[in-house]
Amino acid sequence: MQHTLEQFFRALRAADVRVSPAEAIDASRAVAVTGYGDRTLFRDALCSTLAKSAEEVDRFESVFESFFSRDAVGMPPPSASEQGEPSEEDMAATESSPLAQAVLQGDNAQIQQSMEEAAARAGVADIRLSTQRSRLTRRLLEEMGLEEIERIIANARRMPNGEGQGLADRLDQARRDLFTEAQRYVARQHDLYAAGSARELREERLAKKQLNADGGVDPVDYQLMQALVKKMAKRLATKYARRRRAAQKGHLDVRKTLRRSMAHGGIPFQIEWKVKKIDRPSIVAICDVSKSVAAAAQFLLTFLYSLNEVVDRMDAFAFSGRLISVNDVLDDNAVEGAILKVLQEIGFQQTDYGRSLQDFAEQHLDSLDRRTTVIFLGDGRSNFADPRLDIMRQIHDRSRAVIWLNPEPESYWGQGDSVMNRYARFCHVAKQCGTIEQLERIIDDVLRSYVPH
């Protein structure tokens, strides 16, 4: 029984429900209280000990359903049933194989049990990759005793006057059905235990993928990427919020208290506490969505969106030819809608860095102060227009830090129409940022060193 629970925990972990040993122990204790008699009670008890958020509850339920309602083997009834019970001779001929007898009698429960036992021996539950499926199906059938059936079929075919022909055909059909069943069983085990590891593999690969490469992100991976970026932004925000909040301690401020008590002849009627003032940091993010960064634009915007969700004070701008504020769009729409709207409004035009910087300077330069960190996301390719370095210098002088994240590798900076080298002089940090992994590392550094805390 404990073994079944352990298998269930494994299936849950594969579905991205975190089950720590401590939670596993709690679940076992809960099961000891509820018993196995009442399915709903059993499920709810497990659910309350294992699933720790609304999304996990959903995943828990779907795993529970597929794990604990293993559909019985649905073998079609053997064709012999038209003639009633299998004949004495048939039973005698298949004496050496309990499986063959079970198949002939249409004893699905027996087949199911034999399949589960064989699966345990063949280690089907250890499946990791989808490519292992056919090999495991084969092993499962071997463990069930398929060879014996094949031998019986061969014997029956060799019988004189074709009198074994009927039996052979029936067994042959049953063998094919068994094969389908075994395939289904293995596929289900794969879904239960291996789906998670496949996703992990894809996520890992995606995190390292160059986003500005030709074609950018595969549309198939797009949703995965959004989830990944969101996760990352959240992780950063939690970390960074913790640093920001220097807790106000309940310490007595002796100096202030004594001073105030002077008014009452040295008797401290009023107590003063130490208070620590915390600067509210703010971030200004300016994102290039022009043609030259088309492939990376969606990714950069996704990041902008997630950052906007987790940082309380952020002003977001997007530009290609001109610059607009996208705060409202990001606030009011879901992530896909917001990105689409921004791109529709301003995306994929000719870049003009000078013009955009001027727009920014006219409307928002006043809002920069020594607490502001400015983050540029863009490739610094200005189509040979005036890069307006004077504005860049102003931004640099007014703000606490200017960070430039460029999807292009550093060796490309300054080549062709790139003015990145000239901008880089006015940046505290200018780095290549082509993959999600790099992005996370850089932003982490930025938040740690350039945002007041």
Binding site: R18, A241, G250, F269
Partner: protein
């Protein structure tokens, strides 16, 4: 034995029917999940099976229970009703940003301490007068210092109060997601061992572990360490049938027809894209308002006049108002 019981449990076609534990004391609401549902019902809380199961497990496993759900689905109410049902005192701690242990656990009464030092100044002078040298005076002073860090100067706050209730109590830590991480970490010791360490007094351990409810609105994600120590319960918005029962239980004297109509209307509203969907507490408030207005059924004018009870944002009200007639007909 357990193996065979389990096998029959998982194959759907042959579910073992185990009769409920016989001779369950009807007076004890904690005998089973069903008696718990009944008990909660008797104090006016209509619980779904999942809620009751989670509560049941929390009591049996002596673990805190973390209740999540949008505002107004009855998270706090669950703790209040449980306290009433079990006849235990309820200690409530509202969390907010900046809450720290001096407000949650204990605090020294600094004012009293300082005042006493002032009053005892002369006595201290006397006591120290005959000390031969500075060292001896310091020694005596050390002896007195402890006087001021003793029980009479201790101000217990909710957590300590809860741990000191020898007969058990219900501790409600409300909106724990609004407190900051440092405080969350501080809660861990309380929640897993039901004890706290006070440097000046030592470890204080509860004789009877309190039944702890934590509620969260998902303002921020709670840490895994905290979640791991708790049972998790997510209360969704209820289905129509359940909501009707809740309204009937909460608003005595409401007509069945009106209940049905208003619940159906609220359920339709929830399918719309609103900034804040009405939750159970809004439905109940609305039902009360309608009863006060002697409305026998939902007429468009009445709905328009009272929309502000269920919708809390101006945009939502302006969005819904022109559609009221249509929405009323849609059901």
């Amino acid at each position: 034995m357990a193996q065979s019981g389990f096998q029959s449990f998982i194959s759907k076609d042959r579910i073992l029917t185990i009769s409920p534990p016989a001779a369950a004391n009807a007076a004890d609401p904690l005998a089973s999940v069903d008696t718990l549902i009944e008990g909660l019902g008797s104090v006016g809380y209509i619980a779904s099976r999942r809620i009751a199961t989670a509560l049941f497990m929390a009591v049996k496993l002596e673990k805190p229970i973390l209740v999540e759900g949008s505002a107004g689905v009855g998270k706090t109410e669950l703790a209040l009703s449980t306290a009433t049902l079990l006849g235990l005192p309820l200690i409530r701690m509202q969390c907010y940003e900046g809450l720290d242990e001096s407000k949650a656990l204990y605090e020294w009464k600094y004012g009293k301490q300082l005042l006493y030092t002032q009053i005892l100044k002369d006595r201290m002078g006397e006591a120290l007068a005959d000390a031969p040298d500075m060292d001896a005076a310091m020694d005596r002073l050390h002896g007195m210092g402890d006087l001021f860090f003793s029980e009479p100067f201790l101000e217990p706050r909710p957590l300590m109060k809860a741990l000191r209730h020898d007969d058990g109590c219900v501790l409600l830590i409300d909106e724990v997601d609004k407190s900051d991480e440092a405080f969350e970490a501080f809660l861990l010791e309380v929640l897993s061992a039901y004890q706290v360490s006070v440097p000046e007094l030592g470890v204080i351990k509860a004789k009877t572990p309190p039944l702890v409810f934590l509620t969260s609105n998902n303002v921020r994600d709670l840490g895994d360490a905290l979640k791991r120590r708790c049972l998790h319960l997510h209360i969704p918005l209820p289905e129509a049938a359940l909501e009707e029962r809740i309204v009937a239980a909460r608003v005595p004297g409401i007509e069945a027809k009106l209940t049905r109509e208003l619940v159906a209307f609220v359920q339709t509203l929830r399918t719309m894209d609103l900034r804040k969907s009405p939750s159970i507490s809004e439905t109940v408030d609305w039902a009360r308002a309608l009863v006060l207005l002697h409305a026998g059924s939902l007429a468009p004018e009445v709905v328009r006049d009272t929309l502000n009870v269920i919708l809390k944002f101006e945009q939502d009200i302006t969005a819904v108002e022109p559609q009221v007639v249509e929405l009323l007909h849609r059901r």
